[in-house]
Symmetry: C3
């Protein structure tokens, strides 16, 4: 963290000093993150951007600043703008508006203390910073994750015939591999997890691709190739691209649980992935369950039961704010410590890149610190486990 | 709270003084509550009445006083009967039995510090206090909620033909609107949430009403019009009455989760309401998810994702007792603070009207107090959020 | 506990002294436990044995010692081997390897402070200690639980014809009753809970048995009677044996939730048992929901709603380690205190027999101690409730 920032303020008598120093200072690997905006926002857009769940405008009767995330922004980010902690929302907004997007990105990214960002570039890439810019703004190194559904949509748009899709997709994957450290699927948003996860292929896959592209061609002719015309939602094709990616043995990130509302939350319960996880073709591929709230205990169970399954509670931490130590505690139940990672899932608003790291550091300090104070854990073990989850496991899995 | 009651006893070194004073004293709006009994109970009946879950008598091998609720009654209500805190169950029962129902109601309702009760009168109204009596016993004001299934059953009993039901129900709703501040559905008890929530009507609805009233007529001839003969359980009709009520734009309360055991708890998971919540006809109606335990995290997610969804953790608090701060903490994760409310769901036993308020005040003081002590929240913000959840949000939504 | 062991170390200023003394010293009934190994393990086998979830070897990149259970072994068991608390994994393994299985069993079982073990002998009985040996090693008394699926498989192997199975199974049950204090079903592993729980019998059952034994005969001829050839998975037959056992009115243990990975965790959610629990034939049989994590709140709800339902959070405690107070807290929400029990579910590794007791004592001391310090519970009540859950309820239910 930046020298001036006391990230464990208010926890002085709860955290043993050695652990506090280690957790404050350790460089992190944020293994799932996005870029931040390169253009200014209105206040209404900003409030919408800090409300993960909803595509609707914030209703008139409230401000999204009155939320855990809003309070955390006023507490931790206000001082970086020269304001006192807990500055009012209006005051915060005024100070923030005075800075250009690039200034904001530099201001908030560096003090996160992230040494390496693993970036999912699949979200509206045109208006957010590239991995290169993130690296420059934060003084960190970067790697890239490829979003499978996006690649499949690009391949489908140029494939000559449905019979070629499988081969074309594999070729596109192979071409992508040297440039990325892993893949990601957003099956949770596109079809849910309660689908047939067996390995598809052959004529049946070809027919599914034909149906998809036929429907999309018709739609495209109506929507003037809006870019969403080829939106992939067919579970058979999604199962195919997941299996195809798993063959590379690169880590496979899977969005699980909490996200915006077009997702059926209960259909993204990771237990519904059991039929996928039990397949031989997946066994040697590191599976990374992302976010997971409120199913992080289920993810912890899977991380214990399957030697290739890992998980994080990113995203959740930013949005539960002062409750993040409780969520981190729940994540530290069944799963071995080698199976957990840190991520922020920050997107668009650079405050999130910083707050993810602050919440994680404070949570680990509180949870592990209490175990040390109860004489259940040694302080050395606590520091070691924080290092594994904060960066070591990610460096091992992604071969950084 | 009444001057003599130290509702935050035992928390002195956990809660900053200003917050403690504010949370102890602030008047509440209990936005979902029932009347209390107007006739005396036997001890066996009392023990059954404090066991929400079960229609069975309490087994011989135990007393229901040995539960979180029983312990809370002995801790907080005993002193109002002139006994020491933690008085024995027998002692408590003896002192309580010496008072008439009206005396008990006055004794326990006033110190709850509730300024306004929003009363669901749909539960066996003959033997419990009316809203007017509650107002007089507590010195508070009152409003009324109308239970949709009960209204539908009354309408069906007098409707000339199934073809008239829809129009007659709408007319009955319109007639009721001036007297109530909202509606409530107990679909959780009658059909569960995993039903077709599309807008029904026309011939299909008519046929459903015909099936229902035909079956009920037969049953009624057997049961001598017991009042339960017309019990509404048909999901299509329930979907119709919910949509019809939503058109009024008055708040729509939905029982979610924990309740007595004829409900399939897992089929009252609020995530199963997604198909209802996504419909355009519901979007501008405030939806109030009641109770929600153990699905309060799911409800918090919905309250973030849908701008018209609100929720509370009433009922649960009374029954989890000393664990209520933990449940309140979980409720304060994803949902914006403008989307949460206080309720007790107290029914029959006036101790519940008081204990709901005590548990809520203690829980908020502990949870928010810890965040203030950790320097994460300002004390002023904590007091403001407690006021929003304790009364402000309810006053806005119900236009009190 | 053994005189030399300070089981509440590190909690001195969190637990009132009287409660601490009582909870440290009280003899427990471990109402669901297995034997420990009678032959030495390799370190790889030991690490696999402390990973409940998985049949796979521990991957090369990690050690299973880096888990809550591994840390608890190093913290609490190392001193019994003459090592300092938190001794390294290698050091621990070396010291442990120097002792014979019998020495290890004696070393770890006695300080658990368990007065009575109720043993499920259904797990690979040949290589683990018998109940008699457990009694001798620990100075405790023992009772036995009979595993229904195992009995059914034995009966099927010798039944002359499918038409005789029902009668033969009932006869075998009746013959077993004098020697056992209850039955156990592992339906969770064999078919899940989302099956038809009505009372089967007659021709339909006969046909199911015929299908099962026919398939098994074929399999047996191929696998040379491996002992698993007659593996019972048919839900109709499992429903039959559960109902048949329930008729005895002996306690019926049901594995719920967390277990190893051939189980579909979400299909062992206890809410799916509602159709079974609602049947008249079950109402007077004590039902014991075992383990339950992460569905312990659901189990608490069922224990409140059904007068014959009880539950524990055994197994979970050993595997969540330093998080066990949090899990115990969640278990103490809805369920009356007469409906909860202690178990370790320890198997194979005698450290588990001890750690289950340590985690339970520490958890109860912390959770109840905090409620006493908050003035919500009296210390006398806290001690009484700990005694009920630690042994009293089990003595009542199993008529020990």
């Amino acid at each position: 963290m930046s020298a001036g920032m006391d990230v464990l303020a208010g926890l002085e008598d709860r955290v043993p000093r050695g652990l506090a120093e280690a957790v404050s200072a350790m460089p992190l690997v944020d293994h799932h993150v996005h870029g931040s905006l390169t253009k200014p926002l209105t206040r209404a857009e900003f409030e919408e951007a800090i409300n993960e769940g909803s595509p609707e405008p914030i209703p008139d009767f409230m401000t999204q600043f009155d939320s855990q995330l809003g309070f955390a922004i006023r507490r931790w980010c206000a001082p970086l703008l020269g304001l006192p902690p807990h500055a009012g929302a209006g005051e915060y907004w005024e100070a923030r508006s005075a800075l250009a997007p690039t200034e904001l990105n530099r201001l908030f990214l560096a003090p996160a203390g992230v040494a390496h960002w693993i970036v999912d570039t699949g979200l509206s890439a045109s208006s957010v910073t590239t991995p290169e810019t993130m690296a420059r703004d934060s003084g960190a190194t970067v790697s890239e994750i490829l979003r499978l559904e996006l690649l499949a949509e690009k391949v489908a748009a140029r494939t000559a015939s449905p019979a070629d899709f499988a081969e074309d997709f594999r070729a596109a994957l192979a071409a992508a591999v040297p440039g990325v450290v892993g893949f990601k699927t957003i099956a949770a948003y596109r079809c849910g997890f309660d689908v047939d996860w067996s390995t598809p292929g052959g004529r049946s896959l070809e027919r599914a691709v034909a149906r998809w592209t036929a429907r999309s061609s018709t739609a495209a002719s109506r929507t003037a190739a809006s870019g969403t015309a080829l939106r992939l939602q067919d579970p058979e094709i999604i199962s195919f691209i997941v299996h195809a990616a798993a063959e590379s043995r690169l880590p496979l990130q899977i969005h699980v649980g909490y996200g915006d509302r077009d997702l059926d939350l209960h259909r993204s319960n990771p237990m519904l992935l059991l039929p996928l996880l039990r397949q031989a073709g997946i066994r040697d591929t590191p599976v990374m369950l992302l976010h997971c709230y409120p199913y992080h205990r289920e993810s912890g169970y899977l991380a214990q039961a399957f030697s290739n399954v890992h998980f994080d509670v990113g995203l959740g931490l930013n949005h539960v704010g002062s409750r993040s130590a409780d969520v981190v505690g729940e994540a530290l139940e069944l799963a071995p410590f080698a199976k957990q990672l840190y991520s922020s899932d920050a997107y668009a608003v650079p405050e999130l890149h910083l707050l993810g790291a602050i919440h994680w550091r404070r949570s680990m300090a509180q949870v592990l610190g209490d175990w040390v104070r109860r004489s259940e854990w040694s302080e050395a073990d606590a520091i070691r486990v924080a290092g594994m989850i904060g960066s070591g496991n990610a460096r091992r899995i992604y071969r950084l």
